[in-house]
Structures are given as structure tokens and as C-alpha cells.
């Protein structure tokens, strides 16, 4: 299992080893001890599974205050563009967006610490995203940023005619109002 720092402090790419043979392959997708050895101390308490079709953009989501969640995101079907926006005040990367391809083919995972907003775009015909969180879902603490906020200039790699967003995600405020 490889841990790679991204350009943003705390945001880490994890690439598990895939052992393949004529039957298929085997991958250890999560290992608490290895995470801790790398200095990543989290207790994940909930797993979520999301199925989406091509063109779907979900995000940019976070939970406020003590309900904030660290997320460990991976893809078991298709390809997504995974995006994390640094909302940690005082961070040298404050309001900067990081994006990377996570896919069934590359087995890559993105560890997104509390203090980030998270979203993704589905680039394949469909995608299944799995993620662990270290804090329970809390409806009253749900918050978000408009995924098409021009100030973040996120390139979702989907033409406007392909994009599918929920009503709710379109009502999140722009960062100028944060």
C-alpha cells in the first residue's frame, strides 16, 4: 500500500497493491495498522456506497463543526474525477481545489481530512463510489459549496450538456458567501 502526499497538506493518495493471477485479482483495500504507521489516526464508523450514471456531479459536501468528517474514498466501478476543496482557515491552500482520477482500473483512494469539502464527477457510463467516514451522518450539520462556483474554477471535465446535478446541490452557496 503506497501513501503519497498531494500538493495539499493532509490530503493523501493511497494506492493499494493488486495481486493478479489467471483467476482475477486480490486487493487489500484498507489496513488500520498501515494507516497508523503512516501517521493517519482515524476511526472510521460508517461506510457509504453510491451508484451514479455518466455526467453526475455530486458535491461539494461537508459537515460543520464537531460533525466534520474525514473521508476515505474509492471507486469499484468506472472512473470519477474526485475533488477536494481545502476549507481550513489559515491553510496555505485555503479554497484551493485538488482533483484526481479515481477508478476501478487504478484502485486509487483519496483520504480527505475533516476541513475539506468533497465532490466528484462521473466520467464513465456509470460508477460505484465507496467511502468511509469517521463521523456519523448528521442532517442538521450538512453543508456545501456550489460545485460550479466560478471562484473555485473546478474543471469537472464534463460539457454542460452532460452534467447531471441534484436540486439540492444547485442550491449550495458560492464561496464568496462563506
Amino acid at each position: 500500500m503506497d501513501f503519497t502526499q498531494t500538493g495539499i497538506q493532509g490530503l493523501i493518495l493511497i494506492t493499494p497493491k493488486v495481486i493478479a493471477d489467471h483467476r482475477g485479482n486480490f486487493t487489500e483495500t484498507f489496513n488500520q495498522r498501515l494507516m497508523e504507521a503512516y501517521g493517519l489516526q482515524y476511526t472510521f464508523v460508517q461506510d457509504n456506497e453510491v451508484h451514479s450514471i455518466f455526467g453526475v456531479i455530486r458535491g461539494l459536501h461537508y459537515q460543520k463543526g464537531s460533525a466534520a468528517q474525514t473521508k476515505l474514498v474509492r471507486v469499484i466501478k468506472g472512473t470519477i474525477l474526485d475533488v477536494a476543496v481545502d476549507l481550513r482557515e489559515g491553510s496555505p491552500h485555503y479554497m484551493r481545489a485538488f482533483s484526481t482520477e479515481l477508478s476501478e482500473a487504478n484502485h486509487r483512494q483519496l483520504l480527505i481530512p475533516a476541513g475539506f469539502a468533497h465532490g466528484y464527477a462521473v466520467l464513465s457510463e456509470s460508477a460505484v463510489v465507496l467511502y468511509k467516514v469517521d463521523n456519523y451522518y448528521s442532517q442538521q450539520d450538512e453543508a456545501g459549496i456550489h460545485p460550479l462556483d466560478p471562484a473555485l474554477s473546478i474543471n469537472w471535465l464534463l460539457p454542460p450538456s452532460s452534467r447531471i446535478l441534484s436540486e439540492k446541490d444547485l442550491t449550495w452557496p458560492y464561496t464568496s458567501s462563506h
Partner: protein, 297 residues
């Protein structure tokens, strides 16, 4: 027993990638022929070659791909992309050889944001697009039970001339770049396509080809514009050449281009049981090769 595969267009991007992969695939016995050995457009019979070599699969990776030049070179383009493959299919039928015909996203000109499935009605616009479309029709009607048509898009590799190498070279020179930002499609690394074609031969070998798998789409996952692609190339290579976004109209190219040609590849994924790499991952792989071997010049 090895599967005997003959590949035309051995000097093209796909041909070169298949040559690179041949040593890693001991189950196959590849023979590669280039234009000087057998010219697709010259109307020479292929039947003796197929019979003498005991070929089981013919991969036609030869094509007329100069999209703009085709507009004023119609006869030649149609001969190479349609008439010759049509004859090839007849010869294949006679010699009991499977034909893998490579085709293009250009057969669709009316894509509007949704990924395009294999059975979407074709609407080729321009000489090149029409020649590729007719080529598909001819091979499928001349050898219906033994033909596999694989449509791909925005092909690049570390070989030959292609968009990725051009942008990398110009970026290295620091030349200002103007790149189209209103055409959407899927860049495809010819290496990935070659891997899929080898797998397709392996999977279809010795069993009938189902009607539902005669046409298959293969491209890397995800869509982008040529501008996004150029930006990713420069960014990954750490280059800061000025990059300007322009629209198709201001480019003034002769041939029409599809504005959206994202292909739905779920069929080939299911038939072959493969995962398809995202376009950025594959682009990075190709760039690693180009940058390490200094092959961008």
C-alpha cells in the same frame, strides 16, 4: 497452438503498439505488414497472403487518417478506408479469417452530451467520416459472421505524429498554443487499444461472434476537450507555454468535426471482462515514456 494474427498498417500508431506487445503475448503469432509490403490502396489481392500464412485473424490497422486532406482527396480516402477493407472482408470470408476493422468516433456527428452506444444511428459528416462509415458497412455486409468493428477516438501514442506529441514538442519550445475548446471526446492511448484488441481476439477465438458484439466501442474513460488535453499535457510535463482556448469555427479546418463524440464502452467492457483506464492515467503513462526516452522531438 498459437493464434496466427496478421496486422496491416504496422507503421501506424496501433500497429506499432501491437508490435510492442507481441513479445509479451506468447499465445499469439503476429505477422506485421507495412505499406511497402502490401499497400491497402493498391488493390493487390490479399487472399494468397492470408492462405499462405494460415492467418486466423486479420487486424486492419491501416487507414487514411488525414481528415482535412481527405476533403480534397476523396477518391483516395474512400479507396483506402472503404473499398479496400470491403475487398479485404471478402478475402477473409473466403479464407475463413476473422477481420478486426478499426473505425472511428467520426461516424457520429450529432452527439449531444450523452455517451454514444454502438447502435446509435450513424451520421458521418465529411469525407473521412463517410469513408470510415462506409468501410464499416462494407466489411460487415461482406463478412457478417467473421467481422469485429472496433470504433475508437482521439488516438495517440509515443509513436508517429499525434496531438500529444505535437503539444509536448511545442510546449518544450515554449511556443504559444491555440487549442480548440468546444469539441468533446475521449483521448485514447493506442497501447490500451492494442491490449483490448489482443484480448478481443483471445476471447472471441474459437467461438461464434454474437451479432451484438460485431461493433464495439473502445476509448479511455472520461471525456475532455482538446484544450483540456493540452492543458493536462503541459501541466504534467511541468511546461508553462502560453495556452489559448479557441473554438472550432475560428480554427478554419476544412473537414467538419464532431462536437461531442464520447463513446459508451460498456459493451466491450462486458464482452472482455476488462477495466478501462481513465484518460488522464493513460496520458501520464504515455508522457512518462516520451519524457524519459526524450521521444517528443
Amino acid at each position: 497452438m498459437k493464434i496466427k494474427v496478421l496486422v496491416t498498417g504496422s507503421e501506424g500508431q496501433l500497429g506499432r503498439e501491437l508490435q510492442t506487445l507481441a513479445p509479451e503475448n506468447p499465445l499469439f503469432d503476429f505477422t506485421f505488414i507495412n505499406r511497402s509490403q502490401w499497400d491497402l490502396g493498391a488493390n493487390k489481392p490479399l487472399l494468397p497472403i492470408l492462405k499462405n500464412s494460415a492467418t486466423q485473424y486479420l487486424v486492419n490497422a491501416a487507414a487514411y487518417t488525414a481528415v482535412d486532406a481527405a476533403e480534397s482527396d476523396e477518391a483516395n480516402c474512400f479507396n483506402i478506408n472503404a473499398v479496400a477493407p470491403g475487398k479485404m472482408a471478402k478475402d477473409c470470408k473466403e479464407a475463413n479469417v476473422r477481420l478486426v476493422q478499426i473505425s472511428s468516433d467520426y461516424v457520429f456527428s450529432d452527439g449531444r452530451g450523452k455517451l454514444i452506444k454502438e447502435d446509435h444511428p450513424k451520421l458521418p459528416a465529411g469525407v473521412y467520416a463517410k469513408s470510415k462509415s462506409l468501410g464499416e458497412d462494407l466489411v460487415l455486409s461482406n463478412h457478417p459472421d467473421g467481422t469485429l468493428v472496433v470504433r475508437t477516438s482521439w488516438l495517440y501514442s509515443s509513436f508517429g505524429k499525434n496531438f500529444v506529441k505535437t503539444i509536448l514538442r511545442k510546449g518544450m519550445e515554449g511556443s504559444p498554443l491555440r487549442v480548440v475548446a468546444d469539441q468533446h471526446g475521449s483521448p485514447t492511448y493506442a497501447r490500451d487499444l492494442a491490449i483490448a484488441i489482443i484480448k478481443l481476439i483471445e476471447v472471441s477465438y474459437g467461438r461464434p461472434i454474437r451479432e451484438s458484439e460485431r461493433i464495439l466501442h473502445y476509448c479511455n474513460e472520461g471525456i475532455c476537450t482538446w484544450y483540456d488535453l493540452a492543458e493536462e499535457i503541459l501541466c504534467y510535463a511541468g511546461l508553462s507555454a502560453p495556452l489559448a482556448a479557441i473554438d472550432t469555427a475560428s480554427l478554419g479546418a476544412c473537414a467538419p468535426r464532431p462536437l461531442f463524440s464520447g463513446l459508451d464502452c460498456s459493451r466491450i467492457r462486458n464482452v472482455l471482462g476488462i477495466t478501462i483506464p481513465g484518460w488522464k492515467d493513460s496520458l501520464h503513462q504515455c508522457l512518462d515514456l516520451l519524457l524519459t526516452n526524450n521521444e517528443w522531438k
